[in-house]
Symmetry: C2
């Protein structure tokens, strides 16, 4: 018995040592011979931003297919997705007008999905410090006015993602809540953690049967200015947006595979989203996530690792304003009777890795401990139940036993650049991006090896 | 007995709960009502860079004293330090000359402490890929030439500080090693992790009895260019530096105290260094460290915490090129028969906190676990034996039982900006800086409370 325990312990130690060696190879390849930084530069600079339905999104699909083919995967293909098509248009401007008639230009971006102003709006402004205050407002105070919601993100949270989650309804429902009270437009304080001139866009939705009113975000710096004025005098905002909805168009998820050697029918997905908002270059959101996923597969191939399961990299289309890529992927997987055992998503930026969150139905203690222990020298410390990405979540509707993981990078800088003109390649740090690729690659290896 | 254990457990639980509450207050104050960001802006923009002996360093001392006084500390004073005085001068330029006579301008910075070129040097170049290769070189191959050491930082390390430690001798001893072989000047590849146009300066030293030759760092991008040329043809470098040494001057450590309520004679120091290199604004190195230290004391005062020991914030002078501030501080402490029980230093930048390293003579397991457990919700995961800062290390010469701690922020971006023109306030993230203040403040509280 004693001998048996001894053999067992030696065997576990060998396994852990082997894991450590493979993880070291993954990190060394990412840091010394990585392709993610140059690939991301090309995506950002040769294609640029790429909102669903745009010609840039179409080019990005072609680009991504070629990049995957160049990685020597076993197969690369496109998966048809019908995506919504909204365009910002050519005119997007606003001014604060003081009671003495001075005009102060404001930095705004229409929220994604907003209707146009149909010409120029010029109306009195009513300010609410919280979305909840708007909900309680007397309609007679709001009717015919432009609602300004000046709700800041809560700085107290250690993870800015929690602050974003809390502030999200301001952007998502602000227009409908203001519309219910008879407002003619809504302007929200951008969902950003720093005081800057850059407005942040992002998706919003209209409730059925509520009148659709135009919605825009103003930069946090301008929000402070509007607030200063409005606390002392009545002001107007003059604004014009000519954004527009078009018919849905055909687009694609871009998919590449390394075939499993032992369980080819069991699929592990790793992905990010290829579409981006139509400002900046979608560098962190989510060019970085796509690079993490592709580089993870490329590295495993380069170091000569033979996957047991089929590893599938997916660049999802349309995460930002519809999630048709994620939904379609899950539906087709079900329709094709595929078996999906796990998925990793990276959609929180290309910053220094801190760990992963997961949402599993099974108990997973041993796996977690082995992973954390092996990755500790790589300064990966978080592995906990938590939020899951938008693109992979639909898989759990059809595959209830699937394990879903989400990459957690450091979050402190994300909401300086999220959905705004600052999300450009220049704000990507090469080492941070490469460490993210290695972290995602390591988890992919661990899942393949141990599940 | 059972009852006693019960009471004991309740007491430990209460203590931990109290710690958690105070740490939460520290973090909330740093994030919601912090002063560090605005103070650092002022130091960077109103004073700028501040090499020991410069008029800016003199102004920085005045500035720091006023800032400390405004924090309402019990006492603020200056401690006289004699510091070396080296100036870059007005001329600093270099070109690569090809064998067809084309001149390619190079981005260079003289290394701190270098002698001048005494006019223009124009000489053939010999390249070494490692400092060790230079050490083994035949002097006849080197005599009369300009030595170019093209040793890159090792990208494989997860912490860039390890790569810096390994590459440090290239900058520190490159000139003496080249001088030994008869070279007339040395140019090193900058100690930086990214490929950029910005050269990185930093201190170097000459060995006694070796002829002193001029030394400069070239940007990593230019190092690649030089290397490309030299691998195909003989090239010259033309260079001119008129940097100069002056007599030592009087300067100061700036010190502020909160008096201990129970052990006023026992001192806990927390500090960073006020001087910086004469390029950029010394924002991360080490304006951020000074802000961490001062804000830690300010926050403890603001939240109404009464320290048991005397807490002393020190802005050290001359860390960069002489460490006279750190040495003098330790010597005067000994001379005054002070009792120093611990010191925390922050000199690794103002990035997202990861934890602390320490060098203690005593076993410290319980303290470490309590700290890590309490700080885990704040994403602080590292608390381990390791490197200690330059300014606080001399204390251990006189106080062998002192516990020394060093703040560990995320290191990935540090060597993009370290000692180069990029180390400016614009590259400081407000939340990252504030989280650093809270982390340092929390450790300061923990030491005061539990030691």
């Amino acid at each position: 018995m004693f001998k048996l325990i001894g053999i067992c312990l030696i065997s576990i130690a060998c396994m852990a040592q082997n894991d450590s060696m493979i993880v070291q190879k993954i990190y060394r390849t990412a840091l010394n011979n990585g392709k993610s930084y140059e690939n991301l530069r090309s995506l950002c600079k040769d294609i640029g931003n790429r909102l669903s339905g745009s010609s840039a999104a179409k080019m990005a699909v072609e680009w991504a297919k070629i990049k995957m083919e160049n990685c020597g995967l076993d197969s690369v293909y496109l998966e048809k997705v019908m995506v919504p098509h909204w365009e910002r248009g050519t005119t997007e401007r606003a001014w604060l007008r003081t009671n003495t008639g001075n005009l102060i230009p404001l930095h705004i971006l229409a929220l994604g999905g907003s209707v146009s102003t149909n010409g120029t709006l010029d109306a009195k402004v009513i300010q609410f410090n919280r979305l909840n205050d708007l909900k309680k407002a007397n309609p007679s105070d709001v009717e015919g006015k432009i609602v300004f919601i000046n709700e800041p993100m809560n700085e107290s949270y250690i993870s800015t993602l929690n602050a974003y989650g809390e502030a999200y309804p301001v952007r998502g429902s602000g227009a409908s809540e203001a519309g219910k009270k008879g407002a003619i437009a809504v302007i929200i304080r951008s969902l950003g953690t720093s005081i800057s001139d850059f407005p942040h866009t992002g998706t919003m939705h209209y409730e059925d049967s509520i009148r659709k009113i135009p919605a825009a975000a103003v930069s946090t710096k301008d929000a402070e200015i509007i607030s200063q004025f409005i606390n002392k005098q009545a002001i107007n905002i003059v604004m014009e947006l000519n954004c527009k909805w078009f018919d849905p168009v055909v687009s694609y998820n871009v998919i590449g595979e390394l075939k499993g050697s032992k369980y080819p029918e069991k699929i592990i997905t790793v992905g990010g989203h290829l579409d981006s908002w139509d400002t900046g270059e979608g560098a962190h959101d989510d060019g970085a996530g796509c690079m993490h996923a592709l580089e993870a597969l490329r590295i495993l191939k380069v170091i000569g690792y033979t996957p047991l399961h089929t590893l599938r990299v997916v660049f999802f289309m349309n995460e930002e304003n519809g999630n048709m890529g994620g939904k379609t992927y899950a539906e087709i997987a079900k329709k094709n009777n595929e078996t999906h055992i796990a998925a990793i998503e990276s959609d929180l930026g290309g910053f220094t890795p801190r760990g992963f969150s997961y949402s599993c139905n099974k108990k997973n203690e041993k796996f977690s401990q082995l992973f954390l222990q092996t990755l500790k020298p790589y300064q990966l410390h978080i592995f906990e139940k938590g939020e899951i990405g938008v693109d992979t979540r639909p898989l759990s509707d059809f595959f209830p036993d699937i394990e879903l993981y989400s990459f957690i990078p450091d979050s402190q800088r994300y909401f300086d650049i999220h959905h705004n003109p600052n999300d450009v390649f220049e704000n990507i740090n090469k080492r941070e991006l490469e460490l993210g690729c290695a972290a995602v690659g390591s988890l992919l290896y661990f899942i393949d090896k141990n599940k």
